[in-house]
Amino acid sequence: MKRGDRIKKKTPFWTELWRNKLLYLLAVPALLYTFVFSYMAMPFMVIAFEKFNYKTGIFSPFSGLDNFVYFFKSSWAWTITRNTVVINFLFLIAGTIFSVALAILLNEIKIKRFVKVSQSTMLFPYFISWVIVSYMLQGVLGTENGLINNLIAQAGGQRVSFYSLPQYWYLILLILNIWKYAGYNAIIYLAVITGLDEGLYEAAYIDGASRMKRIYYITIPLLVPTICILTLMSIGRIFYGDFGMFYAIIRDNGSLMPIAEVIDTYVYRTFKNTGNPSLSMAIGMYQSVIGFILVFVSNRIVKRFFPEGALF
């Protein structure tokens, strides 16, 4: 084994490629695709420091940090950063608590059929596109014919126009996020719980531990590493808003933007509406760089405390 290793190490680059040419050939499509869409994209980032002109393209005249200065001077810089971070943070904390609780409750249910049926229904929203979810939401919250407003009207109250009142929307978005992803996440946590040592529970039964005690002293402590890993991983993504969600739900609704405009939708809007790719690129770069730092740091933390959970 050792000898073989040493011989292999001596083979030059091209010899190694030639020897395993078919094997490397198999990876070529993926390598090429990644090269085109990820590595070739990186040089385009200089656009952020230029005054973009469609004729000269990537070689447009430099304008230094003008685009960044312009962006950070506008009130949007703070608004979209706050919205992205606050909303993702809410999703993360409340979403995790809800999913873990759901998984624990599912684990306590002894009727197999009940578990199976409820799992199937919970997973359903996960497969549905945000566009359809946005119409469901209109059906529930719509001012003229939504379910909630119908109830309010029947009770003799005043119809609430949710789509022009930003104060409700952190909560509404949170509920949507939980509705769509909690079932999925609960199944992951449930898989971890099912994989725990049965012996611990048997012992607890025999010692007469109540349900709450079993959850509190066995299930939760054993789940903590998984929760920590998944949470830290998501913290790395906290600077990225879910474009598919926000653009489908909020669309171009100006009155909700102070609360629900996130970096991703703002980058898109800047690009489409101002026709200024440089400004949009500058904002995108701000997101990429901070996002990368967050991913890097959170992964380091995972590696430090849970070596088996780290990505690199």
Partner: protein, 301 residues
């Protein structure tokens, strides 16, 4: 003897436990219902007469039923069949291509013969943590010709995901090395080993990955929003997203032919139902492999 599960049933935890049990069952049932009811609402509204919606709003118990929205959707003037065709084409082609690309790369990365596999993993990994953003993506997609045609719905973003590749790689890591060694000794070439020995063994993970891709394609509207202006290449989700303007246009074109006002709400919901259709049909299958794949992906990392 006391260790048997039967012992559990003999222990009586009393009233508190019963109450907890009631709470657990009702909580889980309530959440499941909350997940299910919106779908039922969509289906019912799609079958409600528009007049009934205008007067009473959305309701689980409509006063008057109607299939007019569906008739309209499949009338000759409708763009739904075209959008359906475009989306199905993109989904099928894209999923097959993406799954193949992913399996091949995953196989190479898992193969101990390949000396640069760690370097290649890093090459893919970097793209997972750092992305250049929207503007370069748009310019490159346009530059390679994926703009205003079917390729715009197939190629950009969706055709390869390193995450799925690592899923495949990890799965292959679980298969004993002796297998590829014995195949080599028996004289099977690299390609043959990959496709006739490893591919069948990887079917569970391939099914999962293919489903990830298929759902990604079917539910994607971002590519269409960014790269498609030509209505002929609107995907189903994009069409659904823009349905408001579509209805207004249809009512203009078909004035007089309409029985009444255009059935705006029910039409929207009927299109949603049709869009969800394949997912509902494939659901049992989807669920089986999704749960498996999720567990592989999340727990093994």
């Amino acid at each position: 003897m006391d260790n048997t599960p039967a012992v559990r049933n003999r222990i009586d935890y009393g009233l508190a436990d019963k109450i907890q049990q009631v709470f657990i069952y009702s909580f889980v049932a309530a959440f499941s219902l909350a997940c299910l009811l919106p779908f039922i609402l969509v289906i019912i509204v799609s079958l409600t007469a528009e007049k009934s919606i205008t007067i009473n709003g959305y309701s689980f118990f409509p006063k008057e039923w109607s299939t007019y929205a569906y008739e309209l959707m499949f009338s000759p003037r409708s763009s739904v069949p075209r959008a359906y065709y475009v989306t199905t084409l993109a989904t099928v082609t894209g999923t097959i291509a993406a799954t193949l690309i992913t399996f091949c790369a995953g196989y190479t990365l898992a193969n101990k013969q390949c000396r640069y596999r760690n370097g290649m993993s890093l090459y893919f990994y970097i793209t997972m943590v750092f992305s250049a953003g929207l503007v370069p993506w748009y310019m490159i997609s346009k530059g390679i010709g994926a703009y205003d045609n079917i390729w715009a719905l197939i190629v950009p973003s969706l055709m390869f995901s390193p995450f799925n590749m690592f899923l495949v790689r990890n799965f292959i890591h679980g298969i004993p090395d002796e297998l590829s060694e014995s195949a080599r000794i028996d004289g099977a070439g690299e390609i043959k080993t990959a496709f006739s020995i490893y591919l069948p063994l990887c079917l569970p993970v391939i099914a999962t990955v293919a489903l990830f891709y298929a759902i990604g394609y079917w539910n994607n509207y971002f590519n269409a929003v960014m790269l498609v202006n030509d209505k002929d290449y609107y995907s189903l989700q994009m069409f659904l997203f823009k349905i408001q303007s579509e209805i207004t246009q249809m009512s203009k074109m078909a004035q007089g032919a309409m029985r009444s006002n255009p059935p705006k709400e029910s039409y929207k919901m009927a299109t949603s139902v049709v869009t969800m259709g394949p997912i509902i049909l494939l659901y049992p299958f989807l669920q089986k492999y999704f749960v498996k794949g999720m567990v592989v992906g999340a727990v093994k990392g």
